[in-house]
Symmetry: C2
Subunit: 377 residues, 2 copies
Amino acid sequence: MKNLVLTPGPVPVPRFVMLEMAKPIIHHRTEEFEEIFYTTTEGLKRIFQTKEEVLILASSGTGAMEAAVSNTLSKGDKALVINSGKFGERWLKICKAFGVEAIEISVEWGHAVDPIEVEKSLSENKDIKAILIQASETSTGVKHPIKEIAAMTRERDDVILIVDGISAVAVFPIEFDNWGIDILIGGSQKAFMLPPGLAFLVLSKKAWEFSKKSNLPKFYFDLEVALKNNLKKTSPWTPAITLVIGLNAVLNYFNDIGLDELYRKHSIMSEATREGFRSIGLEPFAFNNPSTALSAIMSPNNIDAGTIVKKLREQYGIIVAGGQDQAKGKIFRITHMGDVNKGDILVVIDAVENILEDIGFEFEKGLAVRTATEIFK
Amino acid sequence: MKNLVLTPGPVPVPRFVMLEMAKPIIHHRTEEFEEIFYTTTEGLKRIFQTKEEVLILASSGTGAMEAAVSNTLSKGDKALVINSGKFGERWLKICKAFGVEAIEISVEWGHAVDPIEVEKSLSENKDIKAILIQASETSTGVKHPIKEIAAMTRERDDVILIVDGISAVAVFPIEFDNWGIDILIGGSQKAFMLPPGLAFLVLSKKAWEFSKKSNLPKFYFDLEVALKNNLKKTSPWTPAITLVIGLNAVLNYFNDIGLDELYRKHSIMSEATREGFRSIGLEPFAFNNPSTALSAIMSPNNIDAGTIVKKLREQYGIIVAGGQDQAKGKIFRITHMGDVNKGDILVVIDAVENILEDIGFEFEKGLAVRTATEIFK
């Protein structure tokens, strides 16, 4: 049966990318692959808006999150963790695993961190070595104020800003060099609209200085080794060849349409989804700063969001994500990343309207679709 | 241009597997994927010949090598490393990165380790916690005597045997449970004939006991977390979905043909290649115990093996691997793993014969192909 996958990672992969990856395998220690690898890392530099080398890891995004910590910090170092959801929590767990002392700013789910809180914490804890944050928290659909926080860390020689941009890079503008971010992480199965299996990250000169002092053990994720190989158009270990080839195709496509157009696509889909549902009384979970990577929509009072997710799957063949942990049953989440278009958004809004009608929720039927259509126009 | 890829990793991927992976993406937190994940791990148990859980990592094989060390040993522990090539060296580097003290048995490249040497080292160093070895050293084409060494470690409660079987699992019989191996590692881009990006490993009950005492930091490669998720038919981080789907297709194929037939295929191709080249005076690099995963063939005196590799690529569109480090220029390496058949072996032997003739090497033209053909018959 044909399904419409609208989850915020993995996201639908364009047909031309799937077929590019289905071509006969090539060997990675060849000029042919090195050329692809080089073109790809150069393309990533444009997306990451940096002159620094962007590294490609054969792992999920979590591997790159670990690498960011294990390559720049040392045992007993203090890190400020902005925790506003499932992926903020992951920073805490990584710190714990590596003996890094986490100072936590716990932000209510659905809210963005207040930069003043960050400034306060930095002032109170002079020995903080790194800030760990998400640019877009996928579990809540919220964007954090990265530019404002980067303005604080770039003034300080002794603190680096590590940004999990897995649901943010290529979604909306993040200017790595200009803003002064120190590490920025991306993942293949999000806006890069590839299958999962690749992670990307870039380090600032300051972060590379930190890496010289870091004493945490690393091997597979040793970024200095990765950098040396990157400069030779290769990776230290066998790369995930087919995914890199797919990435090359995606980056060529991004080049053709332009970054602004890509950002705009996410932005308009996000607005249409949010305003569509809002028009019938379903508010976004993001209290402020909604991310354009996905829309996390709250189900109406007394209706389990899990029911909506289930009925979408069973009755309409539409796969969206539910809420995780404390957001379970409260929200459903729809991607704007990947090979999804305006029509897909209208289809899922229409299906949710039908489900709400069946359940007996009172609203003006058709208004959400109409609102979204108007925004698309 | 159509190329014939005959490198010992990546190996040619069957067309039906590539197309299976090119199907529309599915989400990993669904019953549909969980069923595939479960079938796949059950299939891996048959290949690894074990009742224990086989874990699937989104990484290259090196990630699983690191995981084996970081999950079972502690800082300052002693490990006996059998180093007979490029991948033996990798064990030394991993130990160094994690503060594990390596006691090295350095074996001449092209030779298998003598089990007596291992026994001697174990007796002399009572505090050795683990033996790190390759089942098949891809850089030299040599098999190590795993069964014999496992017989030593299974008698000892305080030593585990960690086997890099990346070029061995699904190539020739390795009985994980029966022999008493403690960790066995596989990789997708070898006999599993997939693109690179997945690693597999299994731990014995003894190895899981070791993991409880291990104090090395790990997060992405935390195997206890992976095990818990495996039992719930999932992985802790986003799995490399398309590769797992490809793996499922490969395991179904293995089921159809049977493991013995798979082993026999590698074995006969290996014999035909070795004896073919030997008949015209080109000896295998493997002095003893040749692996059936690949043939590493020494080029005749005064002929740079790199020339043969280059001419194969440029004149015949055949991609084989050269030698690495100290074997550079001395050998060329041909895979028997992956979607390659007897005809491919005849084609590469014939091409090498032509190249040798052009270079002026004296031999009975056609004899190598004829010898291989006879063995295939």
